[in-house]
């Protein structure tokens, strides 16, 4: 769209928002009414708070033990006392993880260091696990939350080395995974059997929104962010991207969404730095 037209319709132009803003906005749009949403630290928090303030009556759960938070001040991580404000339950991990396993979570917002074409995420090591190049923090609840929620949306930075044909280590399961104890590669549905609840439905990066063909388990491009060229996208991926179902451009943030992000959700600039 042309800039003047965009502005008339309330959408911000390319030079008026950052890629973090778009990530948060695109993620917030994945939330449906009345959903119970599990959110990790960082951009997931921006997304869920944006969705809430925008009027989506979702319930947010943080891993460290707060349920239905209504934070007034953006938490810097899920253990932050800011998570407790206005929540219905302040308890602990056992409450939250039991509910997760009981099937109560509709949507999970998570991050990841690297991802592969099947949506497998690695936050543990770069290189061979037994002789790693770099040690990362590890799974945290990423794998559990992703494996037991009905839908997962990953929010991450896209670089060639992070968008891989196959991750070095499957920390968090995608659509084709290894079935232990045998180690056989199987579809996620088979690995989870009767406990299958869903899986990764979207990966939102600074360049595009990806979704998954649940049968083949493979990622495809859904929408490309404004200002990103197809070949730029491919250059920043370690496997051939599937553009066959691309619906066009990602809808940019509205001024209202940006206002909420900067005035209400993160006025301190904990995660967001305004485009200068």
């Amino acid at each position: 769209m042309e800039k003047a037209l965009m502005q008339r319709e309330g959408y911000a132009a390319l030079d008026e928002y950052t890629s973090a803003d778009l990530l948060a906005v695109a993620a917030a749009r994945e939330v449906r009414e009345e959903e119970v949403v599990f959110a990790g630290t960082g951009l997931p928090m921006l997304a869920i708070m944006l969705a809430q303030v925008s009027g989506t009556s979702c319930k947010v759960i943080y891993e460290a033990g707060t349920i239905e938070s209504q934070s007034r001040s953006l938490p810097s991580s899920v253990g932050d006392p800011r998570c407790v404000t206005g929540c219905s339950i302040a308890s602990g991990l056992l409450d939250v993880f039991d509910q997760l396993q009981r099937g109560r979570i509709d949507l999970a917002f998570l991050g990841g260091a690297e991802i592969d074409q099947y949506g497998n995420v690695n936050t543990t090591v770069i290189g061979d696990y037994l002789h790693p190049d770099v040690r990362f923090p590890g799974s945290g609840g990423n794998s559990d939350i992703n494996s037991l929620s009905k839908r997962t949306v990953f929010i991450m930075l896209q670089e060639k080395r992070r968008f891989k044909e196959q991750v070095d280590y499957i920390t968090s399961p995608g659509w084709r995974v290894r079935h232990w104890p045998s180690g056989e590669w199987v579809h996620r549905r088979r690995a989870y059997g009767q406990k299958f609840a869903g899986g990764p439905t979207a990966v939102i990066t600074n360049m595009a929104v990806y979704r998954f063909d649940e049968e083949s388990g493979r990622m495809y491009v859904d929408t490309i962010h404004p200002g990103v060229a197809k070949d730029m996208l491919q250059e920043n991926a370690g496997f051939p991207l599937d553009f066959s179902r691309c619906r066009g451009e990602t809808v940019p943030p509205t001024y209202e969404e940006l206002d909420i992000l900067y005035q209400v959700v993160d006025p301190e600039g904990v995660f967001l730095a305004k485009k200068s």
Binding site: G42, G65, G79, P181
Partner: protein
């Protein structure tokens, strides 16, 4: 009634070299930091950490060479440092055996320990390399021979559900730490513990352990805590030592008391990138002070006041957290 109150130094002397430890808190929140610093000063070594999740406190212990086994699901400094440099180096040098679980797995390990059962079943994290039998690091190190009562014979087991035909469950072994060190907001003179806000996995950690050391921001009358017993975390008889240490969790944050000091953690994370800068950091902030009181004085009153929690909000409204 036996007197459980003692000094920080005495409490830390209760922790033997080689023992298996776990802690209160979550990542960079409500960690028993005063104990961590004193453990480093006392030169503790050969420790086996088993933690529902880990954080800056363990990076410090690992960096100081105090740890030989680390079992957990996560380690880092949250926003203030993504890479656990100390663990990374000690893994590469072979000084540490690191065993990875998922969060739910290790939480259930602690819960099994707290409940006196040898394992718990779970569905979490199927399909991941966390379950890859090639990655059983304590097994590879020959430590699953049943000799150490704190190390189970298998990392996992898989058993079919005989009741509802749901297939093969993952069984995770109980965690059985020697000592749990808890930082709490309040404790009574007899040892009753109150934790405010999120309780994280503190109840599981304390109940799984054989011994519990409690560091409290404040020691208050037992009778006060017993007026609202639904707000308390642990009964007196589970607690072996109580020490009053205001700001004892700094630089991690405590609900209702003070915020995380992000800049301080970022400085540590940055210093931890190599041995020389790490040694300098320890020299300044740990070995360079005699006591917790000296440490606080070095931080200055005005600095701590910027972190102090607002009485209503339970977090600091004065701390500078972001770019604004």
């Amino acid at each position: 009634m036996q007197d459980k109150q003692c000094s920080l130094k005495e409490a830390v002397q209760m922790i033997s070299n080689g023992s298996t430890l776990t802690f209160s808190g979550f990542t960079i929140w409500r960690r028993p930091m005063a104990v961590i610093f004193e453990m480093i000063r006392q030169g503790k070594n050969n420790l086996h950490l088993i933690e529902v999740n880990s954080g800056s406190h363990s990076e410090m212990l690992i960096g100081a060479g105090a740890v030989s086994i680390w079992e957990s699901c996560w380690i880092g400094h949250e926003l203030y440092g993504k890479v656990p440099y100390c663990l990374d180096r000690k893994m590469k040098s072979g000084d540490i055996t690191a065993e990875d679980y998922s969060h739910q797995h290790i939480l259930y390990r602690m819960q099994a320990g707290a409940a006196g059962i040898p394992y718990m079943p779970t569905w979490a994290s199927r399909g991941t390399d966390i379950l890859n039998p090639e990655y059983d690091m304590l097994g590879k190190a020959g430590l699953r021979d049943g000799q150490n009562p704190r190390i189970p014979r298998q990392k996992y087991a898989f058993v079919s559900d005989p009741f509802y035909g749901e297939g093969e469950m993952i069984l995770v072994p109980a965690a059985r730490p020697d000592v749990c060190i808890i930082h709490a907001q309040q404790a009574g003179e007899e040892g009753t513990v109150r934790v405010m806000g999120q309780t994280f996995s503190d109840a599981q950690a304390a109940k799984a352990a054989d011994k519990v050391i409690v560091i409290a921001e404040e020691i208050v009358p037992e009778s006060y805590l017993r007026e609202e017993p639904d707000r308390n975390l642990l009964p007196s008889y589970l607690v072996d030592a109580v020490v009053e240490v205001p700001w004892g969790a700094y630089p991690t944050g405590v609900y209702g008391y003070y915020d995380v000091d992000g800049a301080f953690l970022r400085e540590f994370a940055s210093a931890s990138k190599n041995e020389a800068s790490l040694e300098a950091w320890f020299g300044e902030w740990v070995y360079g002070v005699e006591s917790h009181e000296e440490f606080l004085d070095k931080l200055t009153v005005s600095h701590l006041m910027s972190l102090k929690a607002n009485g209503y909000h339970k977090y600091s409204t004065r701390v500078k957290r972001g770019v604004k």
